[in-house]
Symmetry: D2
Subunit: 244 residues, 4 copies
């Protein structure tokens, strides 16, 4: 380490969870600080793919706060957690159950970041599903209405709490299904999200207070079905690649 | 039952999971039962891809019980839950928060089924990672040892409880990472499992009692790295298809 | 429905929440409906113990919505769940993992009902803690400020999600501690709540949007410390009775 | 600080989560380390209240491992977490969401410690409930058998995973109920445990493998009903004190 990078490292270390001994050891070059994308990756927020002023029944104030505070906050927290994980893993005195406390936070923030990007990505549309995507959804649910009826019901069941409703393609079982997810950490194994609805109260309380029902209505009115169709097409392409 | 108490009971029953009225209506053909794979799919267990007698330090008794009772039980429960979801959704009197109770069970059992299939799928090997897969893992974690050190630590932190450790490829963030998962319902959004270790106690207690550490050792000795490499290759192929 | 498909459907239905057979059996008087407070209890909402117009920095609109929709909704849901539990337990075809799905909902709603009653019960005050209660809190935390500092930090950590912060007296360990609780179902074993802060977003988003920090400030300004002191006194009396 | 105690403090600090700056500041006397039972309490394990060789259908090996590894491990982890919480709270650079990761671990370990003490405390008996306790249980559940039927069903539903079944007295609602608890962190608000059954797999896998059903049978055969009755009596005494 050059003196400059060493100083930078110490400043960085000062914000993190490590013991005196290990910090000194690492700074002194005896330790080998972990590196690589799994430890170093620092993410930046993806801008909203639509003008928040143009949504129908979802205010710019709500969208801006949701994007900035909840999604933006998750990006920032994920970056911080990643630094702390690196230092905690480098420190042999970290008990495994303290380390996994940080890994839980990483899982939570990863879920929040990824699901929010899918969520904002499927907003900004007219809510009108083209006949092709309707047919594809119906292939799994019998009818398009059966899909919508279940999707809404799951959303309602999450009202007043937190969670996500996700129409997903399960790469392993090759099924298209609606999933109930209790918080950012929940999610079906091996699944690509196709259509994502945020049911955390920060997704609607500013506009709709406790009325999850009215929010679900508004969400569906602003759905960008072209994006859902694109994701479904990509899932099918990926699936072909996987089976081929 | 006196006629009076019977009447009271019927009124009470009218508020229940499948009401008599709706049961009769459905049975009489007035309801339109939901259909399609999302509602009908019935799964059968995938056989063990190795002879359980041939593992090194993991007994055939443990493997058989794990496969039959825990994985097999999950397949059966998932099938049952799917039937009940269909009937509950068909019944307009089902409160959303009762419906989501069943969706939670579906998420739990889906996680169990899918993750167990990945888990058994990556056992039966020699535990020796080829140089190509080592290099690929090192590309994300700096060194192969750094990966292993974190993977083990997460496993240790889950000892005495339940959960999974998953090395996964996140389709959205394009990262290869180790994830901590508290139970079958937890999982990172948009992630393809590459290497899966079961930390539920039923994965080891028969052989190792409370010693999660010895189990992790045994698990790693029986890892089928060729399968992990195959999954990594497929993930890269799918990724190319997705970006293309 | 053709006779054949109807027969198929009936076979399918036989695996469901309340089967036709059992519904008819119960309706016909052959079943013995469960009774007793554990199965029958129907709860009514407790009115707000203060005039919501008189709070300082927490609007009447927020309080009314919180009380009516979130607390009131939980009371209603708990009553419904209790009826469904009774019927599900009476029906021998209910799988244990479907039954526990309803028990989970009971735990969730019980937590919501009980904690909300403690929460509203410790609001409506001046936020000024008398010297006696300060001394008692300091006896556990070294200083009153140390308590407040931890209490606020836990609240902050729950911002943007859901959960509760509870200062509680643990009957078993005889400790007074602050607890982090992730949702209505979380809670320390054997603990009497002394001071309860709701961190679900429905407790503040209407007034403060995403700013958990400002809400915590407002909450503390409206704390009814006399009630906290009364609860502490009662806990001590109960403790004496328990040890005597 | 004397040089000796300062050295002790540094050694202690070396095992914990703090920054170089704050450790030095604290060691140098500039910081004010938090103290008081909420931060300092160190617990020691309570011995088994029965001879593990004398149980009927639960082996001494299982009991010893359960007591030593799972319960004993929780006591140790709780003590460690408490030290780390103190240092993390003292360090202003600790993000709230890192702090609450530690508070989660504290909740988890507190639940484990307390529930295990109740669990071992109600074992070592003949499984025969006296007529007085049967009558008291029946007062809540209609019949004693209805209680047992629900208690067993909840246990079955937790088979293959983790969790607790608790017959508890809710101080706030004044109800005696069976509760489903998913892990050590789950629990009904304001409830005194009366009868506690551990459904973590470490409570039975050594003896019964995957057969939760056989374990429940064995557990009930070894129940110490006199202790349950004593707890019920104490709960009633505490209740009278609380209402008086």
């Amino acid at each position: 380490m050059t003196p400059t990078s060493r100083r930078g490292f110490l400043i960085n270390a000062a914000a993190s969870a490590l013991t005196i001994e290990s910090a000194v050891a690492i700074a002194g070059g005896e330790g080998k600080p972990l590196s690589g994308p799994a430890f170093d990756e620092q993410r930046t927020p993806v801008p909203l793919p639509f003008d928040p002023k143009n949504l129908n029944g979802l205010s710019a104030k709500l969208m801006q706060s949701h994007w900035e505070n909840n999604y933006g906050g998750a990006v920032k927290a994920l970056n911080t957690i990643r630094s702390r994980l690196t230092l905690a893993l480098n420190d042999a005195s970290t008990p495994a159950y303290v380390y996994t406390g940080l890994k839980r936070e990483q899982l939570l923030r990863t879920g929040s970041v990824v699901l929010h990007e899918y969520y904002f990505g499927n907003l900004g549309g007219s809510g009108k599903a083209g006949s092709e995507v309707r047919t594809k959804v119906a292939a799994s649910f019998g009818t398009f209405d059966a899909w919508e009826s279940e999707f809404r019901k799951i959303g309602q069941g999450l009202g007043g709490g937190s969670g996500w409703v996700v129409l997903g393609y399960n790469i392993h079982t090759q099924q298209v299904e609606n999933y109930w997810m209790w918080d950012h950490m929940h999610g079906p194994a091996a699944t690509m999200p196709l259509l994502v609805m945020d049911m955390y109260e920060n997704a609607y309380a500013i506009d709709y207070g406790a009325s999850a029902k009215d929010y679900i209505e508004a969400f569906l009115k602003n759905l960008q079905w072209a994006e859902v169709e694109r994701r479904l097409g990509r899932a099918q392409k990926a699936d072909t690649a996987l089976r081929g």
